[in-house]
Symmetry: C2
Subunit: 372 residues, 2 copies
């Protein structure tokens, strides 16, 4: 196996998504020090671009130095104290992980469950809050990457805030590809990943914390169990002037080159415009859906993401063989089923730079060929 020259795949799985040449070039730019004034300017610009993409004015918006799961853990360790009750929507792998992560923080997690592929209604969330009135957090996954289901978030925050809880959202597979309005929708804390609809390589996890979340953190009685993800220290580095004397306080060595790549990826998102980008993802999804359904393939979730298309493996098709042929003969990666869907589903991602007519028609053509 050649380990020197990675193949030029077309990444149509659940992420990473295809990375534009501009972003790869930015990634390879000369490394600066993490306290260099020029690097700090790049980081500030990255955070400001993240605010625009999250549609938020939250000052505390920055990329956590780890992949998406580090972002999930960052929210949990900072916003949960041992003994807290929380409600987590579990309708796939990532809701289940959130439950696990939060339990490791000492939370009592009330899992609001739905069958895989389904989502939660306002009524279900209201009922959960009524059943568990002491809950301090409600957490939902907007884009469940394991099932391809799109969770509607509008109206949720009123219920959650009415019960005195914080509203947390996993937007790993939606940020930059689906409608997402952190401020308008009253989201108190949110995390995402770089390698999905932002089309940057994996390695960073954009997060944003609103005022309610900050107040919760400021009122903590105990230190967060993670030093690496402790926002009370991270904010003194990421926010200019938050350190003593108006400066910045070194916390850890930020992943410099990954920040360059994210900054460039965000520039591309904003040049296209969020509305146009979201419309492009919708159009690509509809084109793929029409093609797949014409082939007799069917979607598993009722409310499908545009960014990730989860379809049942047709009877008679060999899961591994089909994916291996797509990879070997076409250089196309699609995703296997995850969790209970292993062996039963394929996941076709149309994310960021990958959500194009060219890719849709190519993957349909290739699938028709290997399913013959």
């Amino acid at each position: 196996m050649n380990t020197t020259h990675p193949a030029e795949r077309i990444l149509l799985g659940p992420g990473p998504s295809p990375v534009p040449a501009r972003v790869l070039r930015a990634l390879g730019a000369p490394t600066l020090g993490h306290l260099d004034p020029q690097y700090l300017a790049i980081m500030d610009e990255t955070c400001e671009r993240l605010r625009q993409v999250f549609r938020t004015r939250n000052p505390l918006t920055f990329p956590v130095s780890g992949t998406g799961m580090a972002g999930m853990e960052c929210l949990a360790v900072n916003l949960i104290e041992p003994g807290d009750e929380v409600i987590v929507g579990v309708n796939g792998v990532f809701g289940g992980r959130m439950k696990d992560v939060m339990e490791r923080c000492g939370a009592t997690v009330h899992a609001l469950e739905a069958p895989w592929g389904e989502v939660f209604s306002l009524d279900q969330v209201a009922a959960a809050l009524k059943a568990h009135p002491k809950s301090r957090i409600v957490a939902l996954v907007q884009a469940e990457t394991s099932t391809g289901a799109l969770q509607s978030l509008e109206g949720m925050a009123d219920l959650v805030h009415g019960a005195g809880a914080l509203f947390l959202v996993d937007a790993v597979t939606s940020l930059g590809g689906h409608e997402l309005r952190v401020d308008d929708w009253g989201i108190d804390a949110i995390y995402s990943g770089t390698q999905k609809c932002l089309s940057c390589p994996p390695g960073l996890s954009p997060v944003s914390f609103g005022e309610r979340a900050l107040a919760r953190m400021d009122a903590r009685k105990s230190k967060p169990q993670s030093w690496y993800l402790d926002v009370s220290m991270l904010r003194k580095y990421y926010l200019a002037g938050a350190g003593a004397g108006g400066g910045r306080v070194y916390h850890h060595t930020a992943p410099i080159n990954m920040t360059y790549a994210l900054n460039e990826a965000l520039a591309i998102v904003l040049e296209e415009g969020l509305d146009a980008r979201i419309a492009r993802h919708a159009a690509a999804h509809q084109r793929l859906r029409a093609g797949l359904e014409a082939m007799g393939l069917s979607y598993i979730p009722k409310h499908s993401l545009h960014t990730l298309n989860c379809i049942g493996i047709p009877a008679g098709a060999d899961d591994l063989k089909v994916r291996r042929r797509l990879l070997d003969e076409y250089g196309i990666e699609i995703g296997a089923g995850l969790g209970v869907m292993a062996g039963k589903a394929w996941r076709i991602g149309l994310m960021g730079h990958g959500a194009t007519t060219r890719n849709v028609d190519l993957v349909l053509t290739a699938l028709r060929e290997v399913l013959k």
Copy 2:
């Protein structure tokens, strides 16, 4: 401030160190999926190269998906259970951080303290073990980046193992630049960073766990408090055949492009040869030391690292102004003092690709000029 084209600095601070063009090129190679057979081959090669650089046969040797501090936290969350007693050598910022990280894991930390710039003797460690015989871990920093002190590790493991404890080491600023023999020296678990003597951009933390450490983890009564850093799951991804059915189990999306860069950086280390590389660091240090002392500057630690030179700021020199002039006029970054040494010390790093005669003579010339 230009945020598009990072300046070409000569990085002679405490890290990041100068990154070779080969490594930057590898970083910008096409992104593969994290389960792509070619990516898995690259990852396996990276882990094997890490074993060679750590001088270990430990199968469980891999890069944690975060910067050096994530590696420190990875060791702590996996090897400590609430209530454990541990001994940590604290003679600078990073020993102090280790204490903090371990306390957040519920450990009772016995800090073995020494003045900043000094190191610990075998007798001191033996006495600490005698005073705290229930200690389950002894942790030392080989290269204390805040003071520039080099901690000798030979013989320590016998003492530590004799008391039934595990021997943990921070090798962030030594791996690839100083003598380090994980197996010969009986080190049970170790972490490092990519952006120091390996001359790869920051973003990954190489770690290695030996048999004793594995046994300790396997005997845990509770889950590690971090999901992201839980080695019981990470090993099923990083070790081929460790998952059910001999396969690999997806945990999180690995930082693909950073792995390319690390793999290339390690190739460069092994092409040079560890012994030659360590000798080059020693020679660069001696040349710098002779030059600095001829200028009347003096070293703070008695046993100085070769990779990081911590010197007192001479009377009358303006700390900020000198560093700013080096950056603006020469494009050279050196480090400020950290912790109690802020405003009192400079830290000149000669790490990896940066440890050259050219850089030594350049920084001496520049310092002479700005200190005039």
